[in-house]
């Protein structure tokens, strides 16, 4: 009996230790979530204005044909995943959403080592990876990725660019999304805007398009990290709760075992004394 008492005690200790870790990870994720949320808010104003401006310029352009590549070309997917695990279904949900869409000759750009190992294990051809994109993440990283996509797009290697990322709705709801960013789709309106374009709308579009693409890549990357951290916080939160549940159950078991050991000992003593009478 005392053996099982010892074993239960050890299990309680080990679950307690695990709980400490999950609780710490939850706190870390909460702190990081706050930082990334601020970044997301800061970047959204830039992206919104860029989009607005792009729409304005696009309206003034009559001939946008050269911006569109042959639709029979494959699609490029930029897949944003995490490099660390223990974040619930964050990566898995994205893969589940994305896999039915990918065709055989589509191109893949993967951010985050989780995505890289997922696609490699399933025999997909990855064209370029940015595994350490989030290590020292700032706008220059998004700039590098954006430049890469754009130069390949201009070489007519693919017709569409889609970003697979996780959209942040609120701290418990995240939606895996596949968003088409190129070619541009802007609602054409009639009417001439009273803007001067220096030197001309075409040249400006050429300049804005890279800036726009980079701002979208940057924004989506940040949004994904926000989801990753929120998802990790939720996962660690329920892990901590579950650990507590197990500890409670083990405590009950331990007390029961201890009580029955005592009862048995008393019974033994009493019956021993009775036998001597």
């Amino acid at each position: 009996m005392s053996l099982s008492l010892q074993a239960t005690k050890r299990r309680i200790e080990s679950v307690n230790a695990t709980q400490k870790i999950t609780r710490a990870m939850k706190l870390v994720a909460t702190a990081k979530l706050k930082v990334w949320k601020t970044k997301l808010e800061n970047s959204s104003y830039y992206a919104d204005n860029m989009k607005k401006l792009l729409t304005n310029v696009f309206k003034s352009i009559e001939n946008e044909e050269e911006l569109i590549n042959d639709p029979s070309l494959p699609t490029l997917y930029l897949v944003i995943t995490s490099s660390l695990g223990l974040c619930g279904g964050y990566n898995y949900n994205l893969f589940k959403r994305l896999l039915p869409e990918i065709q055989k000759n589509d191109l893949l750009l993967v951010i985050g080592s989780r995505g890289v190992s997922f696609f490699t294990n399933r025999g997909y051809q990855i064209d370029r990876t940015f595994e350490d994109a989030f290590v020292a993440f700032d706008y220059t990283v998004a700039r590098r990725i954006g430049n890469f996509i754009l130069s390949e797009y201009r070489l007519k290697k693919f017709s569409k660019v889609k970003i697979a990322y996780t959209k942040y709705k609120n701290s418990i709801t995240f939606v895996s999304e596949v968003e088409e960013v190129l070619p541009l789709k802007v609602q054409k309106e009639n009417g001439i805007s009273e803007m001067i374009f220096e030197p001309n709308p075409k040249k400006i579009l050429d300049e804005i398009l890279p800036l726009y693409l980079k701002s979208v890549v940057y924004g989506r990357m940040i949004e994904s990290v926000v989801c990753e951290q929120a998802s990790r916080r939720n996962a660690m939160d329920s892990a901590t709760d579950n650990a507590q549940e197990i500890v409670d159950k083990l405590h009950l078991e331990y007390n029961k075992a201890r009580q029955s050991a005592i009862t048995q000992e008393i019974t033994e003593v009493v019956s021993g004394a009775n036998a001597l009478k």
């Binding site: 970047s43 220096e198 701002s215």
Partner: protein, 134 residues
């Protein structure tokens, strides 16, 4: 002197938002000075040092990277991918970028890389120029 609203936005957030007397900046076609009541305008920017005269007449100089200048009736919006005050410039990094860009330009890569190297060269030069300004 009349003032107008200048708003400088970067991907990392607002950089400047306030009333100014004038903004001197290098655009695609050369230096431009924006004063109050300028006509609506959209133009692309060249990386260089820009000068702002604040509402109280004080002069501020900033290093601007690539971006767009959008003058509307309500405000003048500067959407740039990077912008710094003099004391924010990492001079070592700028010098490294300058060397890298020069090397790349010398090595004659293909057309698109060339353009990118030119831009980063200009960006580095703008930063160093502002850093060395008195």
């Amino acid at each position: 002197m009349d003032t107008f609203k200048l708003h400088i936005v970067t991907p990392e957030g607002d950089f400047f938002n306030g009333d100014v007397q004038s903004l001197n900046i290098k655009a695609d076609q050369g230096y431009l000075t924006i004063l109050a009541k300028h006509m609506p305008l959209v133009t692309t920017l060249e990386p260089d040092v820009a000068t702002i005269i604040l509402a109280d007449g004080k002069k501020e100089q900033i290093a601007v990277s690539t971006g767009i200048l959008n003058v509307t009736k309500e405000e003048t919006l500067l959407i740039v991918d990077a912008v710094e005050y003099k004391n924010q410039i990492d001079i070592e990094r700028a010098k490294r970028a300058l060397e890298r860009a020069k090397r790349r330009l010398a090595s004659k890569a293909d057309d698109i890389d060339l353009k990118r190297a030119q831009v980063s060269l200009k960006r580095a030069i703008a930063r160093i120029k502002l850093y060395e300004l008195k």
